[in-house]
């Protein structure tokens, strides 16, 4: 018999602190699987965000650096320019990347920094207790939108991947989702491709991963996959490659 699935080596052997069923854990595993597949963990430097993934620096068997809220792409830029032969990635939530850090991600993509960005879109601020994010769906409830996000006054969600794909500096942008095993496997291929392209010096790559926050969505982990991601997020955030060149 052969092992068909086991914990990847690049994932540290410590329990993740995430809530039960939170798909941040799946996204972490996909990053680790990519580092294993490309055999590059020893030469990789990750940048952790502020948000629920703040402890990501403890979860990977590669070098890690913590950044101030939203500033991971700027920190990653500095690291990559000093260590151009290292594989450099950021792992950021949508509050981190699409709100306070929108300038940093936009500028890093504009400059065409040869880094990989793993963008976790769960349409809410998880760590701080469920406030509205720029990615929150119209009608979706948040502690700061108790009646649901209102189109008039609060606008409709930013589609970050579409926006970043308009920048010449971005060479690979794909949106994937974790709502079932087939999509997790698609996401796995996208994450690995983003890292491989960086190693091939093809420039800025970003994978947006639709992810859950069962705790702040007020749903069970299974309901979170079905009701929010599948039925409500997919129509607003269509999956697929937005740019590859």
């Amino acid at each position: 018999m052969a092992v068909v699935f086991e914990k990847p080596k690049a994932l540290a052997n410590v329990p993740l602190h995430y809530c039960p069923g939170c798909t941040h854990g799946i996204a972490h595993r996909l990053v680790a699987q990519a580092l294993d597949a490309l055999d590059c963990a020893d030469n990789t430097i990750g940048v952790a965000p502020v948000g629920c993934a703040v402890f990501a620096y403890d979860y990977f068997n590669c070098d890690m650096q913590e950044a101030a809220h939203g500033r991971a792409p700027a920190v990653a830029t500095g690291i990559k320019r000093v260590c151009p032969e290292s594989v450099v990635f950021t792992y950021q939530g949508d509050g981190d990347l699409a709100a306070i850090g929108l300038a940093e991600i936009t500028s890093a993509a504009m400059r065409g920094e040869n880094i990989t960005v793993i963008f976790i879109n769960n349409a809410i601020y998880g760590m701080t207790g469920g406030q509205m994010a720029p990615t929150t769906l119209v009608g979706q409830k948040a502690t700061t939108a108790p009646y649901g996000r209102q189109l008039v006054g609060q606008g409709s969600p930013i589609r970050v991947s579409e926006m970043i794909a308009t920048l010449d500096g971005a060479t690979y942008v794909e949106r994937v989702s974790l709502h079932d095993a087939a999509n997790v496997n698609r996401a796995k291929r996208a994450v690995e491709k983003a890292f491989r392209r960086q190693i091939e010096k093809k420039g800025f790559s970003m994978v947006e991963i639709l992810s859950t926050c069962p705790t702040n969505w007020g749903l069970s982990p299974v309901e979170a996959l079905n009701y929010i991601i599948k039925e409500q997020m997919l129509p607003v955030y269509p999956l697929g490659v937005l740019k590859e060149e």
Binding site: M1, V3, K7, P15
Partner: protein
């Protein structure tokens, strides 16, 4: 022949594997909580496992190992 092993101490009882298993042979064990206080996933009919690893693919905590 396939073997699906669940590290019940790492499990958080989220149920994503139970929901995903195409053979419907996983269940949360509400009667034997683990040290974290969660009802761990267990195989109800291990001999029916086909080793597809769909459960492990959906587990956020890497609590499942599959051999085939």
């Amino acid at each position: 022949m396939a073997i699906c092993r669940i590290d019940t101490s790492a499990c958080k009882g989220c149920g994503l594997c139970v929901n995903a298993c195409p053979k419907g042979i996983l269940a949360l064990d509400d009667h034997n909580l683990n040290a974290k206080g969660y009802p761990p996933a267990r195989l109800t009919q291990a001999e029916l496992c086909i080793g597809c690893a769909v459960c492990a693919t959906m587990c956020p905590d890497c609590a499942i190992t599959v051999e085939r």
